[in-house]
Symmetry: C2
Subunit: 321 residues, 2 copies
């Protein structure tokens, strides 16, 4: 039984690879891989559980998509090019149909990526247990060029690869039975981490993080790791037209959703003065939202020029309600 399930996964998520890069592929207790000379290896390992990270009856296609997406997002924030994947799957029952759809969801996300950045499934474990999906990705980055949340300096500009808040709006809509436009739901269930942006940012960005906990919390991680503060310009915060319409229709605080919602899987990165000139194409699609400063703490400058200071230590930031 176990082998049939693994075979089903491999058919969808493994591709043959040269023995020069994958000396020992799937079907063994370990896989053996050969990173490119002159490259560092980037590893992430995130777990998604039913009832915690997604509702119990989420479609398996969406679970597969999202489990891969949150890990791809971690690699994107490191500037890494994905290479290999192992899966640790706990399944309540051996249901091939469920697993097919799960793997289809992963594959669909993979096929949104250039072929040479699709991680290849090379191993893992499939076992009985409450539904839980552990995804481990390995990526490569030229030696010393990996991005991290540390490294931002006063004077650096703060950027986002895309508008935050859509996933938070979708979650709010689901929880309150509100009608949702399909793109908002897709932002929650089928995020598309900006992997190529991460690749372009290496050797340019001073710090980078992916937005999983919410902009305030994640920018806070950059500030803590970098030992500095920042001011965000709220009027500069990009919002999708659907988010703006949703918030207006249901009387929601757009900025609160955008600052604290989480699950965005956009990148938040900082650029030293002068770095912008080498990134014109990328930055034309990104949004400059603030400035790194020496003074500790995170400040928000609102529409009328006033500055407010959110309490980052409070779980579930409530300042803008």
């Amino acid at each position: 039984m176990e082998w049939a399930l693994i075979d089903l996964l491999l058919k969808r998520l493994h591709r043959p690879e040269s023995a020069q890069t994958l000396p020992l592929g799937p079907g063994h207790d370990s896989a053996i891989l050969r990173p490119r000379a002159g490259h560092d290896l980037v590893v992430c390992h995130d777990v998604l559980n039913a009832g915690v990270h997604f509702p119990e009856h989420t479609a398996p296609f969406d679970i597969g998509w999202k489990a891969l997406a949150v890990n791809l997002s971690d690699l994107a924030a490191s500037g890494a090019s994905p290479r290999w994947m192992t899966l640790g799957l706990s399944l309540p029952a051996a249901e091939p149909r469920w697993l097919e759809r799960f793997a289809d969801g992963m594959r669909a996300l993979l096929h949104t990526l250039p072929a040479d950045t699709r991680p290849n499934l090379i191993g893992g474990d499939t076992t009985k247990g409450p539904l839980s999906i552990a995804v481990q990705l390995l990526g490569e980055v030229p030696q010393g060029q990996g991005l991290s949340r540390a490294g931002a300096r006063p004077g650096d500009s703060i950027w986002l690869t895309g508008p935050p808040g859509d996933a938070a709006a979708a979650l709010h809509g689901l929880q309150h039975g509100l009608p949702l436009a399909e793109p908002l739901l897709a932002a929650l269930n089928r995020p598309r981490p900006p992997l190529l942006a991460g690749l372009q940012l290496r050797a340019h960005a001073s710090a980078c993080i992916d937005l999983s906990d919410g902009l305030l919390a994640d920018l806070g991680h950059i500030l803590q790791a970098s030992g500095c503060g920042a001011t965000l310009h709220l009027p500069a915060l990009p919002a999708s037209p659907l988010l703006a319409a949703f918030c207006q229709r249901f009387g929601l605080d757009r900025h609160k959703l955008q600052l604290t919602g989480g699950d965005d899987y956009q990148l938040c990165f900082t650029l030293p003065p002068g770095a912008e000139s080498g990134l014109n194409d990328l930055l034309a699609r990104c949004h400059r939202v603030g400035l790194i400063e020496a003074e500790p703490g995170l400040r928000l400058r609102n529409d009328n020029g006033q500055v407010e200071t959110p309490d980052l230590d409070r779980p579930g930031y409530q300042h803008f309600t």
Copy 2:
């Protein structure tokens, strides 16, 4: 909360490492590591679930020990030297005491190993959910020297690093409420994978696998991957004195436990003719138990010279009952 738990794990399982080998350590979404030049990377990813791989109320110390042991065993079978570890932990509640004991169990096993073969915890994920432990290990092996289950050839001898069956006896004892000597229980709860044997076997063994499913099943994996058959000499099968006494006292079939029990975490390896001369020290502690043959299938030669053929396709081999 989550960070306090992670910090607790890191205090016990992470050690500072040079930026030359670990450019980015724990505390980020990804870790960045630099394998040694001229080395392949070996990756394994096994999951253990409560109620499936261990009884619900197993001591957390033993769960930590075993979750690490089964993955170390995978690396041992590849001839890899462990370097790094990531954990994907799902915990029903944030209980620091439980997690401390869990990490203590992992650390206790690590301290049975030479310092330069202890994997360093560098990342992962801690989340709410039914108890589930995903361990991912990364090891190194000189390029092209990784062992696998493929490669056995007719005429190769078959060896075990130690006597199988103790863990199966302990499981039987627990399930039937029989009194158990401490070393039998330790074989089940605190296995010690023969990591150093794996290191010595590279460049010598033609095939290698760890005994997790039981000797018949795991040797069967070698035969299938290598495209050959074998005869096992049952009288040559080593048994611990405690196992022999346990089987005699409770009227159990020792060979059945040894052939089908599983959870042994010894290595089963094959050596080409002539390879023994380079491995005298190791082989003095190992046991030659059979011969690889061209004829497909696995044969058992019993005490009186008769040959029997177990049915490997039947789940839970029953031939010797």
